[in-house]
């Protein structure tokens, strides 16, 4: 499949600090891509280079199969991390203006804006001034503004920050729907639980360098299913089993990390001999654990 965006050994530094170093990644149509990393890792710098807000010091950015050009921006929807709206402007005027800037006609822009407002349950506010709206509502409007021109590539920097769970879910569902329709979605976040559910592929960056990249399944398969969750009644002496690298024990609940290539079945037998086991689950590491393991104590924040 053709890549919509491709970064090829891209580097960028500000003052003395290197923000992005020798980073390569590729986003394909109809996929959801998660750009992960701790605060200050270089996520925003990477995104800005994709859409030409800043230019890389070295390396190549390809957008829709061509070197970066302004014309391509009409096919991109970008929601920056720090986003704003004109406070005094009416919601509908604002949406129409932003859509017109991206090449839509005024009438079509208005029609679509109304449709989207309906869909995201803010149709009542369409004639209000932006400053009269709550922060969450404003975020929905920014979200709509990003999508009005039906961009093939949707780039969102920390789209979920500040949203309540209901609205976060609404946004997630919308993004999934767009993906199903063949749009490519890239978003950055430091919330791993969302990435795990949503993304087809990820790139984890730390201090401007990619430390982990690839398809979600493939990344995860690189890690062993070496986590065990046990629920039990009785003696917890089985936690001394030689296969266990470390464990946390709560009342009747233990979280265990096994040694590499350890035999989980043998642990189960030992446990069952001394306690009543109500649950014994062998799980793959969560992305969060992989993240912490990979970034370790090296993260800045």
């Amino acid at each position: 499949m053709e890549a919509l965006v491709e970064l090829d050994n891209v580097s960028k530094s500000y003052e003395e600090k290197a923000a992005v170093h020798d980073l390569s990644l590729k986003i394909e149509a109809g996929s959801m891509f998660g750009l992960l990393g701790p605060n200050g890792a270089g996520k925003t710098s990477t995104i800005r280079m994709m859409i030409g807000i800043t230019l890389p010091d070295a390396g190549k950015v390809t957008l829709f199969g061509k070197p970066f050009g302004n014309a391509a921006l009409k096919r991109v929807g970008y929601l920056p991390e720090e986003r704003g709206l004109y406070k005094k402007m009416k919601v509908i005027d604002q949406l129409v203006f932003l859509a017109e800037l991206r090449g839509l006609g005024a009438l079509e822009a208005k029609r679509r804006a109304k449709q989207w407002c309906e869909k995201l349950q803010i149709a009542d506010s369409i004639d209000k001034k932006t400053e009269e709206l709550s922060k969450g509502m404003q975020q929905k409007i920014q979200f709509i503004a990003t999508l009005l021109h039906d961009p093939e590539l949707i780039i969102m920097d920390e789209p979920f920050s500040g949203l309540d769970p209901v609205n976060a879910m609404l946004l997630q569902d919308t993004l999934l729907e767009l993906k199903k329709n063949g749009n490519a979605v890239l978003f950055s976040t430091h919330r791993m639980d969302q990435v795990e559910k949503l993304c087809d592929s990820i790139c984890l960056i730390n201090r401007g360098e990619a430390v982990l990249a690839g398809g979600m399944r493939e990344v995860k398969s690189r890690y062993e299913r070496n986590r065990v969750i046990v629920q039990f009644e009785g003696n917890d002496a089985f936690l001394q089993h030689p296969a266990i690298a470390e464990s946390k024990s709560y009342a009747g609940h233990a979280e265990i990390k096994l040694k590499p290539h350890a035999d989980a079945q043998d642990l189960l037998k030992t446990a069952a001999a001394t306690a009543i086991i109500t649950k014994f689950e062998l799980v793959e590491p969560s992305l969060e654990e992989i993240f912490i393991e990979t970034v370790g104590g090296r993260a800045d924040a």
Binding site: I53, T54, L55, Y78, R83, E100
Partner: protein, 421 residues
């Protein structure tokens, strides 16, 4: 023009224009400024009427002849009083009475003229009821001076009517050699024309230039500009902003000018000797140049405001740089008398070619004595180039502003950022 630049520029201009014209501030200022101007004109009229000599006064003297001559000279002077009472020789009872009259505002003041034996000059004192009246002082000085001459002439046997004839004021007719023809001198009009331009430019730079800066700062602080920059180039953002705010200014000015034209043609103005704009003595060419230099000056200063706005982080800082913004205008005003006196000196020519000073200084030169055509068009070209350069710079600084958070950039920092972006 690159793809979409024109379309985006117009879209941005349209938004800027509509949002502003619809705002309450626009309606209020459109209405209030003419009212304030009318009030000012009224005040000016009142204080203008004060420019008159002392109406009623007394002369106290030990020299009856000289006192009589002063009285005649006062009546002959530019500011003739209504009534002059002479007490000569004056006693202390007269002095007390006159003082009483000053205190009760019956007379404006009294003049004491004492001739001293053996001295050619008399001792003259003007005691006024008002603190300072420059006209009154000049009125007394010239009256005493001419009275002394009258007295000398009379002493040498010159008849009374001849003395009066000699002392008559000269009517000086001023004409000017302008563009090869002797015309009625209009140095006052040149001054007036330039001052009107300064006033209009000054007001619009302060109102609309600061508006441009505010609008830039608003986009920066609300951080909508990162969204804008992801689709539109900073050039079209800046250009659109200037055009939009400029159009707002023109709309407002249009309304005001319309009011003035309406007033000038009205019956009320006719009673004040104004019959249409033509009687204000403005030629069509001057009006044309006024337009060119006003628009050029407005865009140059607005673009400067945009550049300054792009380099600060908050609304409060906009106030601080409004001085930087208007200082070239202030310098132009200070230099005006020099240019008026030497419109073709090297200094005036150079000044009129420097874009920040061009609008006022070149316009002034055109009004006094038409400079060579190449100078005029060169100044217009330089002004246009400066506007373009300033827009370019403002656009770069605006763009770089995305990367700055909560602090004002220093100049070297900005130059570095320019390279990074």
């Amino acid at each position: 023009m690159p793809d979409g630049l024109l379309r985006n520029t117009l879209l941005i201009a349209k938004r800027e224009y509509l949002e502003r014209v619809r705002s309450r501030v626009f309606r209020i200022t459109t209405l209030l400024v003419p009212l304030a101007m009318g009030g000012l004109a009224l005040l000016g009229g009142l204080s203008g009427r004060k420019l008159e000599g002392v109406q009623n006064l007394a002369i106290l003297s030990n020299d009856a002849e000289l006192a009589q001559q002063v009285k005649v000279a006062l009546y002959d002077g530019t500011f003739a009083p209504k009534l002059v009472e002479v007490y000569a020789p004056a006693g202390s009872a007269d002095l007390a009475q006159v003082r009483g009259q000053v205190a009760s505002h019956q007379i404006g003041g009294y003049l004491t003229v004492e001739t001293v034996q053996g001295e050619a000059e008399p001792e003259v004192t003007w005691i006024s009821g008002a603190s300072i009246n420059l006209v009154g002082k000049a009125q007394m000085e010239s009256a005493v001076r001419s009275a002394l001459i009258r007295k000398q002439l009379a002493a040498r046997g010159v008849p009374e009517d001849e003395v009066s004839g000699l002392m008559k004021e000269v009517q000086l007719d001023t004409k000017q050699l302008k563009n090869g023809a002797v015309v009625k001198s209009d140095s006052e009009r040149s001054f007036l024309g330039a001052y009107v331009l300064i006033l209009v430019l000054y007001a619009s730079v302060l109102i609309y230039g600061i508006n441009v800066a505010r609008s830039v700062v608003e986009e920066k602080t609300s951080r909508i500009f990162e969204v804008l920059l992801s689709t539109a180039s900073s050039d079209s953002l800046m250009l659109g902003k200037l055009l939009g705010v400029g159009a707002v200014g023109l709309t407002q000015m249009g309304i005001w000018v319309g009011l003035v034209v309406f007033y000038a043609g009205s019956a009320m103005a006719a009673t004040q000797g104004i019959h249409g704009l033509g009687s204000l003595g403005i030629t069509r060419a001057e009006l044309g140049f006024f337009g060119i230099f006003f628009v050029g000056g407005f865009f140059l200063y607005s673009a400067l405001a945009a550049a300054l706005g792009s380099s600060v982080s908050g609304e409060q800082e906009v106030q601080q740089f409004s001085f930087i913004l208007i200082s070239p205008l202030v310098v132009s005003v200070v230099l005006l008398p020099y240019v008026l006196g030497n419109p073709n000196s090297t200094g005036a020519v150079i000044l009129s070619l420097l874009p920040p000073f061009t609008p006022i200084i070149m316009y002034m030169r055109i009004c006094t004595q038409m400079p060579p055509a190449w100078q005029v068009w060169l100044s217009v070209a330089l002004l246009a180039a400066a506007v373009w350069g300033m827009v370019w710079l403002a656009a770069r600084i605006y763009r770089v502003g995305v990367l700055m958070y909560g602090k004002r950039a220093t100049l070297p920092e900005m130059l570095r950022w320019l390279r990074y972006s």
